[in-house]
Amino acid sequence: MAAPKVGTFTTGLVPLPAENVDTDQIVPARYLKVIDKAGLADALFHDWRFEADGSKKSPPFVIDEPRYAGHGILVAGDNFGGGSSREHAPWALGAFGIKAILATSFADIFKSNALKNGILPIVLRADLHGTLMQIAKDDLAATVTIELATATLTTPDGAAHAFPIDAFSQKMLLDGLDELDYIRTQGEKILAHETSHPGTINTLQPNAPR
């Protein structure tokens, strides 16, 4: 499983004007029984998209509307991704083709999980967010360009807007570097810390002195 790599992409918008969208909505718990990452594109927003019998809802949920097909940027409401830590949420979004989410804020665990999967959680100021939400609803041909190297988002009018991203995540994604590999480069320091901090927790032996 190679580390994700993100550069520059241009794609359409999908409006999801709901606040506090939690990860139970993004991927209902019954889809967490997979031991791999199979079937998650269908699990995405499942109960908003499908009837109990498995047929798509009519009229379709916004991400299933033909006019939004292939649009890779979700414009969502405040505090996107709250609740459960399930990484199945960004897996499902990625499987469906979402490359970035624009919102006025994100829940912590979701934000971290999204970055680890190459999906950009982009925090926008309320005014710019509002403008893009309106464009997403009104202008189906509109596209936005996101350039990770410069951390800019270019709106349909050609204006480039800076978005916040921590330098470490930015570099890891630009270069396709693996976070686990990064941690392992500090193996000597890890060993040194373990040696100097033996601690009192031992799951293998009850009541054993260390």
């Binding site: 909505q25 709250g82 921590d166 470490f168 686990l180 901090h197």
Partner: protein
């Protein structure tokens, strides 16, 4: 320079901190369950790596297992495969597993403390957002995603940025009928589900000091529902008394040395926090959520809010949608709302003290006609203790279902669930749309409120129960 307990624990665990990068943080305890680990072990295997510290890792099956008797096989094929995968992964990588047939099995955030593995000053993680529970012991404990589970398995470390701090001071005294659950529901109603984002809560104040460990766990558990990844209570004599003698707690001279160290885990006089809030426990009532996130709660004597009174249009829309989903009317009392199911259990309120409170209410009584009451102990150990005390008999005699341990109806992955449109009052932690079953409608509340409701079949104020005292 005065420091908070959060900073003290943080500083003790930083292995490396490069300019501009997150810290590499050492992890003292890694809890594992069947739902968020399979892809992590697969990744480990693909990289040709071992679990670095099996002695700091422990696993259990809790989320997708049934709560029916253990001699029956798991009927759900995918759940059975997931549990089997966990067993295979633990065997291959040498991770100790308290599996679904083990005498120490239970909800992962119930067994850690029970076994004395959850200790003050530790960094504790799990692929589960309610890992915050362990903060009750003065640990820095938080949920992680499956990619991070893989990192911790391989290195016993995690990349983390230092969190901001949020002091939640709860002064005063809880009134009879008002529980720890009501404290945390009141906090989230005040600050909202995003209120703690980016922060770790420290719970302090006289009302917190007065709480038992299980009550502190209830509060810390729901820190994540207020947006905070973690929440903790500085350890004290209550903490040490709980831990002493537990199977994995330090013993003898090690115990004395540990307690001496743990006594230093307090926030210094003059330490500053990024945010603060004060709650007066004297003024709290039992709380019930009426909506579709844990912040949509109100005191039990209150009435359902009106979207027309909401000045923020987005909040008004959200409230309208929530009331539609819950089929509730603005202006109605929350007391008297009918329920189909009462669920007593979960990592929030599935411990022995919770069951005792519920049993006290149900003793010698019969549950309301047409209401299903499901009581799910948080662990096999809680179940055994409850049975020694005769609580199971009280529940059964009242007409309730007494089950095996697991997450059960909190997350509804195992067949314990609501039918579309059904209402439950639940001692769990989330009331999102469909959380307890597609189309299911959840009222969150304390064990006392849930048990009082079981008697009448409609939401009832536990303060009106005969002989109510804490």
């Amino acid at each position: 320079m005065p420091k908070t307990i959060i900073e003290k624990i943080w500083n003790e665990h930083v292995v490396d901190q490069q300019e501009g990068a997150p810290a590499i943080l050492a992890i003292d305890l890694h809890l594992v369950h069947e739902v968020t680990s399979p892809q992590a072990f697969t990744g480990l295997r693909a990289r040709g790596l071992k679990v670095r510290r099996p002695d700091r890792t422990v696993a259990t099956a809790d989320h997708s297992i049934p709560t029916t008797p253990r001699n029956l096989p798991i009927a759900d094929e995918m759940a059975a495969a997931q549990v089997k995968q966990l067993e295979a992964n633990c065997a291959e990588f040498g991770v100790p597993l308290h599996g679904w047939e083990s005498p120490n099995q239970g909800i992962v955030h119930v067994i850690g403390p029970e076994l004395g593995l959850t200790q003050p000053g530790a960094t504790i993680v799990c692929g589960d957002s309610h890992t915050a529970t362990h903060g009750a012991f003065g640990a820095l404990a938080f949920g992680i995603g499956t990619s991070e589970v893989e990192m911790v398995l391989a290195t016993q470390c995690l990349l983390q940025r230092k969190p901001k701090t949020y002091l939640v001071r709860v002064d005063g005294t809880l009134r009879p009928g008002v529980s720890a659950k009501d404290i945390i529901l009141a906090l989230i109603a005040r600050i909202g589900v995003g209120g703690g984002t980016g922060h770790v809560f420290e719970y302090a104040g006289s009302a917190i000091r007065d709480l038992s460990m299980e009550e502190r766990m209830t509060i810390c558990n729901m820190s994540i529902e207020g947006g905070a990844r973690a929440g903790l209570v500085a350890p004290d004599e209550t903490t040490f008394a709980y831990l002493k003698g537990r199977p994995h707690a330090p013993q003898g001279a090690d115990w004395e040395a540990a307690v001496a160290r743990w006594r230093t885990l307090t926030s210094d006089e003059g330490a500053t926090y990024d945010k603060e809030i004060v709650i007066n426990a004297d003024t709290l009532e039992p709380m019930v959520t009426y909506g579709t996130n844990p912040g949509m709660g109100l005191p039990i004597s209150g009435t359902i809010p009106n979207p027309a009174d909401e000045s923020d249009p987005a909040a008004a829309r959200a409230l309208t949608r929530a009331l539609e989903y819950m089929d509730l009317r603005a202006g109605d009392s929350i007391i008297g709302r009918p329920v189909n199911t009462v669920f007593i259990g979960s990592c929030t309120n599935g411990r022995i003290s919770d069951l005792r409170l519920a049993a006290n209410v149900l003793k010698g009584q019969t549950i309301a006609k047409g209401v299903r009451v499901m009581v799910v102990p948080g662990s096999a150990d809680v179940k055994r203790q409850a049975e020694r005390e005769g609580l199971d008999k009280i529940f059964r005699d009242a007409g309730a279902d007494w089950r095996e341990a697991g997450c059960s109806m909190c997350i509804a992955m195992n067949g314990d669930q609501l039918a579309p449109g059904e209402y439950a009052i639940s001692t769990s932690n989330r009331n999102f749309e469909g959380r307890q079953g597609k189309g299911g409608r959840t009222f969150l509340a304390s064990p006392l409120t849930a048990a009082a409701t079981a008697l009448t079949g409609v939401i009832a104020d536990p303060r009106t129960l005969p002989g109510m005292s804490r």
